[in-house]
Symmetry: C2
Subunit: 446 residues, 2 copies
C-alpha cells in the first residue's frame, strides 16, 4: 500500500488568523457555539481527515478587547462532537502541569469509550505565569521541571490505563462473579510529583490508551516526544528546517528503542486559498489589513519577554535578545520567531503580519493546486507524515480546503477517498493497539 | 399555579439494587455503554423529569468480583447525553476534595453552554481513604476540613463563574474591539486552600452557574447546604424523619438569609413496582435472592469501620459501635444505617437485604398507585419538594415508573404533562438566574 498522508484539522473559533473574527462572515460567538464546531467536525469528516484537534490553556489570555478569548473546555467539547461524528479522531489538549493523573486518565478513557476509540491527547506542559497563578503557584515552574513532571505524569497515566486487563470483566451471573480481581493492577505509584495508589475506575478503552500527541520542539520537548509521542505537531517555516526536524525526531525515536514509523510528524500549514494566485494574495492582504498592530506589538513583546514599549513597529527586532536557554516558556516557538525575523529581515510590523496567520506555522497563499503541491513536496521529501491543517478563517477556510484541495490529494493517491469500516484513531494513524504492561512486563510503548 | 413535584432520575448502570446486574435481562457492560445511558435519559425525558443525575467517586470501590465497578466520568457522559436530549437537566457529581476550582468551574461552564443551560453539580467532599490515596494523600482528610475546603472551593467557583459579566462581548468588528475589558473581574483569590488569580476562560453560561446540589446530611453537611445548595438529595427512611429533615433544612436556609423556596429537598426512593402488590413483593424477593451475602457483610463492615469478621450474618449489629462524631467518612449515612438496624431489630442479613436496594434510601415495593400515594403523601405533608427516583433495575425500572407511575402523578396534577418551551435546569426547579456578584456587590446566592 502506498504511503498515505495523515491530515489533522486544527479547529480554532473563527480561524487561525488573529483578525479572522473581524471579517463580515465571521461569528464572534463561534468560540462558544456547539453548532459551529459540529459543522467544522462534519466538514473535516467529509474530507476524510484522520483527526481534528483543539488547543488549550487554563487561563484567559491577553485582554478580551483584542479578539475572541476563552474556549469551551476541549475534552467536553470533543465529547459532544463524538456524538455528532462517526469516524474522525478527536484530539484534546490537556496540561500535565495543572491536572491530576487520576482525573485526567479517567476522562480520556471515558472519551475513548464514548467515541468508540477515537480519543487523542495533545500532552502539553503549559507555558506562562498566567496559568500557574490559577493553580496556587506564584510563577511558572521551570521548563525542565515541567517536562520532568510531564514524564512522571505519563508514566502514571500509562499505569492507570493498564490497571484493568482487557478481559477483566467475566460477568458470570450464575456464580455472582462480575470481574476477575487478579486482572486488576493498582499502580501503587510513589514518585517525585505524584502518589497514586489505586486502579482506575474505568475499564481499559478500545485503544488501550488515547493516541498520544506532543507539540514541544525544545530539546526537552523532543526528548519527551521520542519517548512518549505517537504524533507530533510542529511549526516549521522552511522545507529544510522541517526535514532536519523530521530526521532528528525519527532518529531519537529509534534511539529510544521504538519503531520510528510509530511516531508521525505533522507540521502545521495555514493555507490561504484562492482560485487564482491573485485571489489568494488578496485574501491574505484582506486579513492583514484587519490586524490591530498595537495589540500585535504588545503580544509580541510578551512572547519575547520584553517590557511594554520595547519594540518599534517599523524597525527590526532589537539586538541583544536572550537566547532560548534563558526562556522558561515556550522555548522552540521563541527561537522560531526570532530566527524568522532575522532571516528575512522583517520589521516588527511585517513579523506581526507573518505571525498573524499562524503564530509561526507555515502560512501559504496560493491556489488549491499550489497548496497540494507544497503538501506533496514536504510529504515526499522527508519533511512530514502528514499535516496539521490550520485554516486562517473558519468555517470557510476548511470548506475550501475540503472542496478544492482534498480532491486533488485524492486524485494523486495521497489521501483516502472514503473511511471504509470504522477504525480507532490509532488505526487511522497506522499504530498498533498497545499491549498491557502487566502482560508484557514492560511499560507500554509503541 | 399549584405546587408541582420535582423529579430527578438517579441513573446507575444496571440499577440501584446491588444484585441487579445478575438478572437475566441486565447488561453487565451497562456502566460503559453510551447507548444504555442515552436510552435511560430519553425515557426520563419522556417522563418529563426535571433532571437526571450521576453519582461518582474518584476511586475503584471494593473488588470487581462483587458487582459492576467503575463508571464513565460523569461530566463526560452528561456532555454526550446533552446532545441526545433537549429538555432534561444534567447533574454530575464532582468532588471538591480532589479537583481544582479553575478546571472544574470551567468544565461545568462548558457543559452549561453546550447543553443550553441544563448543567447541575452535585457537590461532594468524597469520603474514604481510597480516593485520598489516588491524589497523593495517605489518609482521608478530616470531615470538618473537607467541608471547610468545599466552602472555599464554592466561593472561588462562584467568583470564577462571575468573572465575566453577561455583556462582556461587544463584537465591534469595525473598531476591532471584541470584548469590554472593564467587564472582566479576575477573582484574585488568596485563601486557605486555594489561590486563583485570573478570570475564567469561558464566558458566563446560560444559567450564570450550574444548579448547585448537595447530599450530605451531617451537621457540617446541612450547614453547607443551607449556604450553597439549591437542591438537596437525602436518604430518609420514615416520613417523620423526612419531615424533620425538611423543616430543619428550610429553617437553616432562611437563617442563612436565603429564600427557603430556593432550596429543594429531594429524598430518594427505590420503587420496586409490580402490577399487584404480590408481584412487587415477588420482584423484591427475586432481587434479594441474588445478593451474595459474604460480599454484603464485608461491605457493611467497611461502612461501619469494622475489621473483617466483626459481623455475624444472622445476628444483630454488635453493641458499642462508635458514635457519628468518631466517623470521618459519610457521617449521616452511618447514623441512618445503625438507627435503621436498631429500630427494626434487623439481623445483619436482613439489614443487607434492606440496604441492597437503596443503600439507606426508602425502598418501597408496591403497585404504581401505592408508589404514587407515597410520593404524594411525602410531598403534601412537608417531607419533600420532589423525589430522587432510584430504580432498583435499569432500564426496566425506569420504564415502569414512566409508563405507570408518571401518568398517575400527572392525572393528580402533581407533575407537568409536557415540558413546553425550553427552559434552563434552574428554571425547571423554579429558581432565579443568579445576578453577578460584581453588579450586586454581594456573592451570588439565591
Ligand atoms: C500545533 C501546535 C499546537 C500547540 N498547542 C498547544 C496548546 O494547545 N497548549 C499549549 O500549552 N501549548 C501548545 N503548543 C505548544 C507546545 O506544546 C509547546 O509548549 C511549545 O511548542 C513550547 O514547547 P517547547 O518549550 O518544548 O518548545 C502547541 C504547539 C504546536 C506546534
Ligand atoms: C442521593 C445521594 C447521592 C449521593 N451521591 C454521592 C456521590 O456521588 N459521591 C459521593 O462522594 N457522595 C455522595 N453522596 C454522599 C453525600 O455527598 C455525603 O458524602 C454523605 O451523605 C455523607 O455526608 P455527611 O458526612 O455530611 O453526612 C450521596 C448522598 C445521597 C443522599
Amino acid at each position: 500500500m502506498p504511503r498515505k498522508l495523515h491530515l489533522n484539522a486544527f479547529l480554532m473559533n473563527t480561524g487561525h488568523h488573529e483578525a479572522s473574527w473581524r471579517l463580515p462572515e465571521s461569528d464572534p460567538y463561534a468560540h462558544v457555539s456547539l453548532e459551529h464546531y459540529v459543522r467544522l467536525a462534519r466538514t473535516a469528516e467529509r474530507g476524510t481527515f484522520d483527526s481534528l484537534f483543539l488547543a488549550d490553556g487554563p487561563q484567559l489570555w491577553n485582554t478580551v478587547a483584542q479578539r475572541p478569548a476563552g474556549a469551551l473546555e476541549p475534552l467536553t467539547l470533543l465529547t459532544a462532537l463524538a456524538t455528532a461524528t462517526e469516524h474522525i479522531g478527536l484530539i484534546a489538549t490537556a496540561s500535565t502541569s495543572y491536572n491530576s493523573p487520576y482525573n485526567l486518565a479517567r476522562r480520556f478513557a471515558s472519551l475513548d469509550i464514548i467515541s468508540g476509540g477515537r480519543a487523542g491527547w495533545n500532552v502539553v506542559t503549559t507555558a506562562g505565569a498566567e496559568a500557574a497563578r490559577n493553580f496556587g503557584l506564584d510563577a511558572e515552574p521551570a521548563h525542565a521541571e515541567r517536562y520532568a513532571r510531564a514524564a512522571e505524569f505519563l508514566d502514571v497515566a500509562l499505569k492507570l490505563w493498564d490497571s484493568w486487563e482487557d478481559d477483566t470483566i467475566v460477568a458470570d451471573k450464575a456464580a455472582g462473579v462480575w470481574g476477575d480481581d487478579a486482572r486488576i493492577h493498582p499502580p501503587r505509584h510513589r514518585g517525585t510529583y505524584f502518589s497514586v495508589e489505586g486502579a482506575l475506575n474505568v475499564p481499559r478503552g478500545p485503544q488501550g490508551y488515547p493516541l498520544l500527541v506532543q507539540a514541544g520542539s525544545s530539546e526537552d520537548g523532543k526528548r519527551f516526544a521520542a519517548r512518549y509521542a505517537e504524533a507530533v505537531f510542529t511549526a516549521q517555516q522552511t522545507l529544510a528546517d522541517a526535514q532536519d526536524f523530521y530526521a532528528d525526531l525519527k532518529a531519537r525515536t529509534a534511539a529510544a528503542g521504538r519503531d520510528p514509523e510509530h511516531l508521525k510528524v505533522l507540521p502545521g500549514i495555514v493555507p490561504v486559498i484562492g482560485s487564482t494566485e491573485a485571489e489568494a494574495l488578496a485574501r491574505e492582504r484582506q486579513l492583514e489589513d484587519h490586524i490591530v498592530h498595537e495589540h500585535g506589538v504588545r503580544r509580541l513583546e510578551e512572547l519575547l519577554r520584553l517590557g511594554p514599549g520595547s519594540l518599534v513597529l517599523d524597525a527590526e527586532l532589537p539586538d541583544g535578545l536572550p537566547s532560548e536557554d534563558a526562556i522558561e516558556g515556550a522555548k522552540s516557538r521563541y527561537t522560531l520567531i526570532v530566527e524568522l525575523a532575522r532571516r528575512e529581515r522583517l520589521t516588527v510590523r511585517q513579523l506581526i503580519g507573518r505571525l498573524g496567520g499562524g503564530r509561526g506555522h507555515l502560512t501559504f497563499a496560493g491556489t488549491p493546486e499550489q497548496v497540494a503541491d507544497t503538501i506533496e513536496r514536504w510529504f515526499s521529501l522527508g519533511a512530514a507524515d502528514g499535516f496539521n491543517i490550520m485554516p486562517p478563517v473558519l468555517p470557510s477556510g476548511l470548506d475550501t480546503f475540503v472542496d478544492h484541495v482534498v480532491p486533488i490529494l485524492r486524485a494523486r493517491g495521497l489521501l483516502r477517498t472514503e473511511y471504509g469500516p470504522r477504525q480507532t484513531l490509532r488505526e487511522r494513524y497506522g499504530l498498533p493497539r498497545p499491549a498491557n504492561q502487566h502482560l508484557t512486563g514492560v511499560p507500554a510503548l509503541v
